[in-house]
Subunit: 646 residues, 2 copies
């Protein structure tokens, strides 16, 4: 199936799929009985279990596999940390308000909607006098021009948005004048402790973190130490992020509180490699590089990691490694390959901290959705926190061979300096000790030329030094170790979005047959399935109870989650009910079971059944879930059973 | 070992244990490089992994075992929900402030501290002129009176605290006058959406949830439906809770953001039973009932669940069931039995929503700490949300036999009512339809006596009705089903506190011997251990690499987390390092391994080693962790190895 066919199918399934997810309580809008809160969602039993399984799978695939250092930091984050990281100033969306009624709109999404509705009018899909009257200026542009605008509106600057609104006389949905666009900070702000800071400062101002990454960066030194000082290494965090969206929509795809799973891979800035790269360099990736997009195209090209790294499409091995690992992970989750692409950010859409970024995008009924970001954050964050706290956040690494370096070092006449500067003595020495190389050479030249020079402290004090107080000399030294601020490669997963994508990709329809109506099911991979099996006695008669209790004990001891359905519904109806919540295996207990202790085991996707001993059924399911055996192995080893289904 | 001995040992270990936990980055104060934020903690790699394992163990023990319905709701919670639940009005601590410098103190803890320091002075432990001068009034009371006060100060009302401060002339730590006590709400407050609510209302006010329970209550109807309408059932949630503590302290024991794991068991208010009660009624519990405490005693009594329920110490079977399950869980976690007790709340310390409460308290170096609450919340929450939203939150259950009930029902003259009340017609009918039984009888009697009667709407409107409009009649009906608001039994775990208690209970010291110094280790149960094993090549020589890579693959495929330590340190030092972070098993690769593919496997607590094939070592560790085999089984099946350790 091609991506275009998949897109059509997902769109066709959208409404029945979302109805099923709601009906079976995969998720729902939060605080429903209070009218609901936009952008907040509750995961019900199947959704919540899927989330827990996904978290475990992620931990296995990334953290355990690569011996990453996992941390868990609070959501509440002080002002100073997010000021340094740039989020206080730059974690914003542009907003416009209706100048009459005060309604707020996220500028880019609002303009996209306006353009979309004008386009619909032009294409004759919807004819609305309202749209026509309000958007006379836009209508004149014509389809081609509007479609171009639609693609760039998301990356417009404040000035661009302002002039766009003025030029095309864009109004609010009810025709009122719009405010000038202004940045709206998306962080939730609150205060910590019993009182507001009385010094007029910001010590009690805290935010809910917009990403989990900062908790890792501020712990860099402890993490490096935990890793025995060895570079490179990766740290990871699974936890909540928050974003006070101006106008949340599209269900789980744009929400205000979300589970993230982030890796920060710390690596030498000039040697961005990974020790296990060779194991994954043959993985094929579906790429949409920025060059392609800048040509206005969207054709995906399939390339091996090593080829993409080799020809410079992917900047370095480390980035290639993580793109490959992400691709394999998404495959494990049941994302269809033709519904996955890695799209490189264009230079005008990058976050403030990144120099290169590849998004894993998944095709959904809402179009291509960004689910995993892979950013090269360089040393941006470590530098920012280092400066803000005067703490060194560096790593060091032995050179393969010791190297010789030239360094300018001062020689002092300490008694004279002490006598001259008295209590400022230490300060002067500190300035001189920390003077950048070029500055030292300049001072040395000045002293040679004029006999005096002026040095400055960071807080603006000036001191006059003389030739007889000091001289700078260039010395050679042998160095075995290099000290550097590591670069960071960051794969960052939006787990809520991924859950939604997995559900859309797993939603299946069984055509109507044998007088049964069409039935839908959720073909979740057994490892991710919310409940691993269900236990169905043929009827609710007491005669089945001892065997049910025994199988329950087997399932408990194998650590398998299960559901018992002993309602009076027909066995076919009960299978359909378990299929809807993605339960991969069903154990059916019939009258033969009572006599000989055998049960039947049914697999959800094939609907095949085998007959086997109730004593081994739990272990067989456990092996299937762990991937130690396949359903084919089971059907080979045990007799196929055909009776109950019909 | 007795509880008193354990208490001494824990106190003795306190400082070295906390040093180890900090040094090996189990946890640390958050945002340390920014000076740290009080009451917030980061879990480093071993702490974070322990937390993840504990979460999984809890999910297995509670959710999977009892087929509970797990949900996951947001931390951000609207004003209206927490207003209804009582938290906006009553989730407070009493605070006092220094009237001169504005410093804030949590009243109960501050008074406890003041009394403690006066007691120390009286007992000659510390002699401080400062204490003496400030607390002249308290000093006069004497030790016995002060010790009594110390126990009640935590449960004092606002008025009690106020008069206590006045009567004993309590001042701030630096001798300034204190404010009157006032309630301080402990919820973090923020606003959601782009603008403050313009109607002057509270629609944009949200809080960070103080407990996860409310998310379950507001979803009651969906959960009941997910359970096929069947009662009783349990729902559960693992997630963050927040509490803006006035003065956080004691490390992980009093924090501002914490992981909770809560069960809400919905049950018939007059039949508080549990279907699996019989499986656990023989479990022995260490109880400290309220009667004992009210006599001023603290002797723990050991009792079987069925006896405690039988003699009324524990109010009902459901509560007994969960106390037993919690006790077994804490044992699985490695909590020592003499360091565990279940303390019943006295009537003056209960939360606003509870009618009975038992805390699982664990002995630590800080004394007995509440780690799990078991509250009988009755129908408090469901009633509150039902009233606030006009939504029915009820369950129904078939009677064993249909019963006959009498009911008063109205008969109307609809045309006359319609003609009389016109557009108020529907309102009048609504009042009459929903009239309580006694009220209906009263109206009927009035109509009989005077021919007219007055009925009132909930918003205060009055309507005069007459005899010819309606009459009430008593009819008999047969009912098969009873509708009721369920009661809730709630076990609520503070996971951060539990982690700290597990670490204190697992901290062990190996006496010095064989010229080695005393060594400490963390004897975490294998199932909870942050890392399951370590891989130690005898040296960092390349010859070991192929075997390391092969064992890595085995460990990956068994899903086991591991650490490789190929530093040059002696094998004994490396064992000590892994013992400190609680790694239960070590695989050592020596020169014999290179020849015959065998390795040694070492168990942390016994320090015993066996020699076995590298091909089976991962599976053997996996079985040990899952509890499928014991270390004894392993030492029986494989030859003991003694060489490397010495």
């Amino acid at each position: 199936m091609e991506a275009t066919q998949l897109a059509e199918q997902l769109k066709k399934n959208k409404t029945p799929c979302e109805n099923l997810l709601k009906r079976r309580f995969f998720y729902t809008n939060s605080f429903e009985i209070y009218g609901g809160t936009a952008g907040l969602f509750d995961y019900g039993p199947p959704g919540c279990a899927l989330k827990a399984q996904l978290e475990n799978l992620w931990r296995q695939h990334f953290i355990v596999f690569d011996e990453m250092l996992e941390v868990s930091c609070p959501c509440i984050t002080p002002y100073s940390v997010l000021k340094a990281s740039g989020h206080v100033d730059r974690f914003t969306d542009l907003m416009v308000t209706d100048l009459v009624n005060g309604e707020c709109y996220r500028a880019d999404k609002y303009l996209e909607d306006v353009i979309e509705s004008v386009l619909s009018t032009l294409k004759g899909k919807s004819v609305s006098d309202n749209v026509n009257a309000k958007n006379a200026a836009l209508l004149k542009l014509g389809c081609e021009e509007l479609e171009k605008l639609q693609n760039v509106v998301g990356n417009m600057t404040l000035e661009d948005v302002e002039s766009f609104i003025r030029q095309h006389q864009i109004t609010s949905p009810i025709g009122n004048e719009l405010s000038k666009p202004f940045p709206f900070n998306l962080m939730f702000q609150t205060t910590i402790g019993p009182k507001k800071d009385q010094k007029g400062g910001v010590n009690s101002v805290v935010y809910l973190r917009p990403e989990t990454a900062q908790g890792i960066f501020v712990n860099f030194n402890r993490l490096l130490e935990s890793n025995g000082g060895k570079m490179p290494f990766a740290a990871a965090q699974i936890g909540l992020g928050f974003r006070n969206e101006i106008s949340p929509r599209n269900g789980l795809l744009r929400v205000r509180e979300f589970l993230m799973a982030e890796v920060e891979y710390f690596v030498h800035p000039e040697k961005k490699t990974h020790t296990r790269y060779h194991e994954f360099k043959h993985v094929e990736l579906r790429l949409l590089p920025k060059d392609t997009q800048e040509r206005g195209e969207s054709t995906v090209v399939t390339m091996k990691v090593e080829d993409a790294v080799g020809n410079g499409v992917i900047a370095n091995e480390a980035l290639g490694y993580f793109l490959a690992r992400t691709s394999l992970f998404l495959e494990k989750c049941g994302i269809m390959s033709q519904g996955l692409r890695f799209r490189q950010h264009m230079s005008d859409e990058m976050a403030h901290y990144a120099c290169d970024c590849w998004d894993a995008e998944i095709l959904t009924s809402y179009g291509w959705i960004e689910v995993v970001g892979h950013a090269d954050r360089m040393a941006y964050d470590l530098k920012a926190h280092s400066q803000a706290t005067n703490t060194q956040l560096t790593a060091s690494q032995r050179y393969p061979e010791p190297i010789t370096v030239e360094k300018v070092v001062p020689t002092y006449n300490r008694p004279l300096i002490g006598k001259t500067f008295k209590d400022k003595n230490a300060k002067v020495l500190q300035i001189l000790d920390n003077m950048p190389q070029e500055e030292s050479i300049k001072i040395e030249n000045e002293l040679n030329a004029t006999g005096t020079a002026v040095i400055r402290s960071s807080d603006g004090h000036e001191f006059v030094v003389t030739r007889d107080m000091l001289s700078f000399k260039t010395v050679k030294s042998v160095q075995c170790e290099e000290t550097f601020i590591p670069s960071v490669i960051e794969p960052s997963f939006g787990m809520g979005r991924l859950i939604y994508c997995i559900l859309e990709h797993s939603y299946k329809v069984r055509p109507a047959q044998n007088q049964q109506e069409e039935r839908t099911y959720v073909a979740l991979k057994p490892q991710l399935a919310p409940t691993k099996c269900c236990l169905l006695p043929l009827s609710s008669k007491d005669v089945f109870n001892p065997l049910i209790a025994q199988i329950q004990r087997y399932l408990n001891s194998a650590g398998l989650s299960y559901k018992i359905d002993n309602t009076g519904a027909s066995i076919g109806k009960r299978y359909a009910r378990t299929d809807e919540i993605g339960i991969p295996f069903a154990i059916t207990i019939d009258f033969q079971s009572v006599n000989d202790g055998t049960v039947t085991l049914r697999e959800r996707d094939s609907m095949e059944q085998v007959r086997l001993s109730s004593e081994i059924v739990a272990d067989i399911i456990a092996d299937l879930i762990r991937g130690k055996s396949t359903w084919e192995d089971v059907t080979t080893a045990h007799p196929i059973f055909t009776q109950q289904e019909v």
